[in-house]
């Protein structure tokens, strides 16, 4: 038999065995479909960076028609909801400390006089700074033109107009769902492959395989190939759910999205391979998998913009494949970019893949000696 045919026969045999084991392993099978579905529902519905209905309290020492108008105008913005009316400031602070409310509006007794004096604030908002997101929402609210002063009865000045491209309704789901493809793939691919390889070592299968003519590279390709397909299935699940439930538009060509996803899947599989050469048990593989997860979620730009991070975090983010895939997937899905516009992230992903495969191959060969 020619070496090339032998290569494909052995790779095929290993891949077929892996698929058979995967099909027999109900729990893993359920995870292939279940993890992306649950994640997209949780993230899609649960994460809303456009903060609304913040529970707030109010203490109104003025109690005039204008002060009541201020309260109702703020409430009409839907950013805050006044659920607590406190008799004094002390009670307002207590409710804030207890966590019953996240913000408190203090209307001073001289409210009416302040209204007439331009340049002085007419009221004060206390904010719970311990929770992320609240402060920004209320600062935005505080800069809202309220037309409560006599001097304000002219048209408000708006020197800059903001136009939100690609997501005009500013829906969080549109920003989250495409990037969620990467997060889910990152989670399942790294852990599945690390476990699939470590399991063989743990159960002693590897010891037998090494004494057969199978080569390390055949073993790796054969074991990873089925997971590329699993990854593409997961991509499809997230994408379909995103379109059906969250009206996420797909502006770029679909095949380019899948091409980018395939590259990312390969990179995460390689990371799983590296982990499998370090971990001795399935439990360790799982822990190391999760260890790579958290920085990926936090630093990849999935939830927080890269621009706001300290320099060191930005460098670290460059190492994470998820960062680059997020650029690709947001580019293709939302901005309708073509892959040739995204060569930067594509090259960085490829570099990661090459480095990870090299490390894995070097470490794997060591184990045979």
């Amino acid at each position: 038999m020619s070496p090339v045919r032998a290569f494909f026969q052995r790779v095929g045999a290993i891949a077929a065995k892996e698929v058979r084991q995967l099909r027999r392993d109900r729990l893993t099978g359920a995870m292939v479909v279940g993890i992306p579905l649950i994640q997209i529902l949780i993230f899609g519905y649960g994460i809303n960076l456009d903060v609304r209905h913040i529970r707030a309290g109010v203490v109104d020492y003025a109690d005039t028609s204008a002060s009541r108008a201020l309260v109702s105008q703020l409430e009409a913005s839907q950013v805050v909801q006044f659920v607590h009316r406190a008799p004094d400031v002390r009670e307002l602070r207590r409710a804030l400390a207890a966590g019953d409310i996240s913000a408190g509006l203090y209307i001073p007794p001289d409210f009416e006089r302040r209204r007439l004096e331009a340049g002085r604030p007419i009221a004060q908002v206390l904010i719970d700074g311990s929770e992320p997101g609240i402060e920004a929402a209320l600062r935005a609210l505080a800069s809202m033109p309220l037309r409560l002063r006599a001097a304000d009865y002219r048209a408000p000045e708006r020197p800059l107009e903001v136009l939100t491209e690609y997501n005009p309704e500013r829906r969080t789901a549109v920003q989250i769902v495409p990037a969620l493809i990467g997060v889910i793939l990152n989670m399942t691919m790294v852990i599945f492959t690390a476990i699939a390889l470590v399991r063989e070592r743990e159960r002693g299968n590897l010891e037998l395989l090494i004494t057969t003519p199978v080569k390390p590279v055949e073993l790796m390709i054969g074991k990873l190939a089925p997971y590329v397909v699993v990854g593409l299935i997961q991509t499809t699940i997230v994408l379909a759910t995103g379109v059906l439930l969250f009206d996420v538009p797909i502006n770029g060509p679909l095949w380019q999205l899948y091409a980018g996803a395939s590259l990312f899947i390969a990179a995460t599989l390689a990371l799983g391979l590296v982990i499998s050469t370090v971990a001795q048990t399935q439990f360790q593989a799982m822990q190391l998998g999760f260890f790579t997860m958290l920085p990926s979620i936090l630093l990849s730009g999935f939830m927080f913009p890269l621009a706001g991070m300290p320099r060191a975090a930005q460098w670290l983010a460059q190492i994470l494949p998820l960062t680059h895939f997020n650029s690709i997937v947001r580019g293709v899905i939302l901005r309708g970019a073509a892959l040739q516009d995204l060569t930067g992230p594509l090259l960085k992903l490829t570099a990661f893949l090459v480095v990870a495969v090299t490390i894995a191959a070097l470490r794997f060969r060591k184990r045979l000696g």
Partner: protein, 323 residues
């Protein structure tokens, strides 16, 4: 490339000063031995004596720290691939796939060895028959008994008709009947020309080997045919049968010429230096003086005596206490 030419008439294994260190532990210490083709060669030794490490070096799983080993005429460290297709290895622990059936496991191994469709089918049929696995063909390996799993492991190891089989404690997890059947299979394989290396800690299995190496603390401490090892033991073996075995044991320990005492049920095997005259008489007198009723007679050494005698120097150095 005369050096790499396989030498089909020569030895199956030639090990020279094979040594393996794990950190500061010397697991295998200058092991040199020859294994002839179409023989069953046994490794006998306690746990940690270096049996598994030696076998793993023979099949290319571990690299020797120093020394050389030629398997089927080729240097295993330099040409592992050339050897691998001709060697079958059976690990101590079941290492086929629990979540695959008997047939799926065998088919997988057949494709890994690229046997080709027709040849694979023919070999799978043959091993299913030979190892009585046909009725179990559709069963998951996880659902089989120890003896059945061991038959499957041997079937898989012999599927590609290897010239040499290396079996690492193959019978440690099976019942006596399965052990007997297993050895029948080994003899059938040897009759067809396969060379077999088997490690064990069962004396009866060691006795069935054509040739034997006793390993202790990584060294070969005795080597040869089991019969000769027993005949040529340089110690006298005195068998003592006594009701009060413990008393007899205590009493005999005080004799300076006693090298070792091993208990077999109600019998004691006393190993005494060869140059001691009338060893049986001395034992008899000692016990009589202590008032212990016993039957004492000189007897032929068994393999256990050989084993105990071979591992004696290690005991004297104080590293090992009473067996």
């Amino acid at each position: 490339m005369a050096e790499s030419a396989p030498d089909t008439n020569g030895l199956a294994v030639e090990a020279r000063d094979l040594t393996r260190r794990f950190g500061s532990v010397l697991a295998v210490d200058h092991v040199s031995l020859d294994i002839e083709r179409a023989h069953i060669y046994g490794f006998l030794g306690p746990n940690g004596s270096g049996k598994s490490t030696t076998i793993r070096m023979f099949c290319g799983l571990l690299r020797p720290t120093s020394g050389t080993v030629r398997v089927l005429g080729r240097d295993i460290t330099r040409e592992p691939e050339a050897v691998r297709s001709k060697v079958g290895y059976m690990t101590q622990k079941f290492s086929l796939w629990d979540d695959l059936t008997v047939l799926e496991n065998l088919r997988f191994i057949a494709s890994i060895y690229t046997l080709g469709k027709r040849k694979a089918q023919q070999r799978i049929d043959a091993v299913l028959e030979e190892f009585k696995l046909r009725p179990l063909a559709g069963r998951l390996a996880a659902q089989m008994s120890g003896g059945q799993r061991q038959r499957l492991a041997l079937a898989a190891a012999t599927l590609h008709e290897p010239e040499m089989l290396m079996l690492d404690e193959p019978t440690s997890a099976v019942d006596p009947q399965s052990r007997r059947d297993f050895w029948e299979s080994l003899f059938a394989l040897v009759a067809r020309g396969t060379t077999i290396l088997v490690s064990t800690h069962y004396m009866d299995e060691a006795e069935r080997c054509h040739r034997l190496a006793i390993l202790d603390q990584g060294r070969v401490v005795a080597e040869g045919e089991p019969e000769r090892l027993m005949d040529e033991l340089p110690l006298q073996v005195i068998e003592v049968q006594a009701k009060d075995v413990d008393g007899a044991r205590r009493e005999l320990h005080t004799l300076p010429e006693v090298r070792s005492l091993a208990q077999l049920g109600l019998r004691l095997h006393v190993l005494i230096d060869q140059d001691v005259p009338d060893a049986a008489g001395r034992v008899r007198d000692t016990l009589a003086r202590a008032g212990i009723a016993a039957e004492v007679e000189a007897t032929r050494a068994n393999l256990e005596d050989v084993f105990v005698a071979a591992t004696l120097p290690g005991r004297q150095s104080g590293e090992r206490s009473d067996a």
